[in-house]
């Protein structure tokens, strides 16, 4: 009955090793998972399942020693199939002792977790991407103008990220003007202001210009009290004023449709000045 269980179990490769780590028994799942047939692998050392770098580090010997000392050893890591391909496995090695306590060998249970690991990595990557998008959203608002609405506190890490992403997007979109909106930034300290000044300097080196918008009264007061010199930076209080400025920098202006020669509607249009 027990043998039937070992042979029928689908998800677990259940094998036995002797005290030296040589394979004694093999089950169908082990064959499916690792590729060897029973007669190919029985008698061989179980280090065949490990990547070369693990064998060099003596990982296989260490695992047996831990299992012998503590009764069992559990690990998650890369293992190697017969064809050389790798899979992510959960491995547990249990020391098997007889009634006198003499070590007779080891039981080794291996489970293929490659799929789970891939899913985990995918989720992690997606979360990271969302986080990056959310921390520094870069929105093209007009040909040649990109908008970066910043919300929340700016720490050094985030500002560093902002700088890299902003410069990247400016070159990618070939935009000579970037509007940096800090309406959603609660406070500004000396360090943050310094970071912003550096970012603006870097943008200018690329050949683009930054318009800093959303400078509210409290922010303006703080900046002056801290003695931060932003006189070289184009600043505007509202985003709309900033956009008008940005369009001006690329020689565009917003004019009423009537003035532009269309008499039908009171809406506004954008045309080259």
């Amino acid at each position: 009955m027990l043998q039937l269980l070992v042979d029928s179990v689908k998800d677990y490769a259940i094998i036995m090793l002797d005290t030296e780590g040589r394979v004694l028994t093999w089950n169908p799942t082990a064959q499916r998972l690792k590729g060897w047939k029973a007669d190919e692998i029985i008698g061989q050392n179980f280090s065949r399942f490990y990547p070369a770098e693990d064998i060099e580090k003596g990982k296989t010997q260490m695992e047996l020693k831990v299992a012998e000392r503590e009764g069992r050893f559990e690990d998650e890591g890369w293992r190697v199939r017969k064809d050389g391909s790798r899979f992510w496995a959960n491995v547990s090695i249990t020391a098997l002792r007889d009634k006198d306590g003499t070590l007779r060998g080891f039981g080794k249970v291996t489970r293929d977790l490659t799929e789970r690991r891939q899913n985990e990595e995918k989720l992690k990557r997606q979360a990271q991407e969302i986080l990056e998008m959310a921390t520094v959203p870069v929105v093209p608002v007009w040909e040649g103008v990109i908008l970066v609405p910043l919300i929340g506190t700016l720490n050094s890490e985030r500002t560093q990220h902002l700088m890299e992403r902003l410069l990247q997007r400016i070159t990618e979109t070939n935009s000579p003007v970037a509007v940096l909106d800090i309406t959603g930034v609660p406070t500004i300290d000396t360090q943050t202001a310094q970071h912003l000044i550096e970012t603006i300097a870097a943008v200018r080196l690329l050949g683009a210009e930054v318009v800093l918008t959303g400078v509210r009264p409290t922010i303006a007061q703080t900046l002056v009290h801290l003695g931060i010199d932003l006189s070289n930076v184009i600043t505007r209080s509202s985003l709309s004023a900033g956009l008008r400025m940005a369009l001006g920098l690329i020689d565009m202006s917003v004019v009423p449709k009537v003035a532009a020669g269309h008499a039908q509607a009171p809406c506004r249009t954008i045309s080259p000045s």
Partner: protein, 123 residues
């Protein structure tokens, strides 16, 4: 003199392209070549394309900014085009600025800039 800096005169513009791996002698030669070409061709604008340059050191930055000053003294105007994002980040981190130099995203935009009279950046 044998080096990789290309200086091409297009109308009244000198298009200067920096090689990706410029060493110090090459950078020193840049100044000579640009100023010499300005005098020879009576060019008004110097357009320095650094889109190939992957690293920027203080010597290069200083040479460029000095050369620009000299060009101004000779009645010309310098536009730096195509600086890579990574180079700009490094440059600001080590505190380099190119002073009042004009910069452009790429050569195309720099040519547009050169065609319009220099204007003070609005504040």
């Amino acid at each position: 003199m044998q080096n990789n800096i290309s200086v091409i005169k297009v109308r009244d513009i000198l298009l200067v392209t920096m090689p990706p791996d410029a060493d110090d002698p090459t950078i020193s030669a840049l100044q000579e070549q640009v100023l010499g070409a300005m005098e020879r061709y009576q060019a008004q604008n110097v357009l320095l394309d650094i889109s190939g340059v992957e690293t920027l050191d203080s010597f290069f930055a200083r040479t460029v900014s000095e050369t620009a000053q000299m060009v101004t003294l000779m009645g010309g105007r310098t536009i730096i085009a195509g600086m890579r994002p990574a180079v700009a980040v490094t440059a600001t981190q080590i505190g380099l600025t190119l002073g009042n130099l004009e910069t452009a995203l790429n050569v195309d935009r720099a040519l547009d800039m050169a065609a319009t009279p220099r204007r003070r950046k609005p504040r």
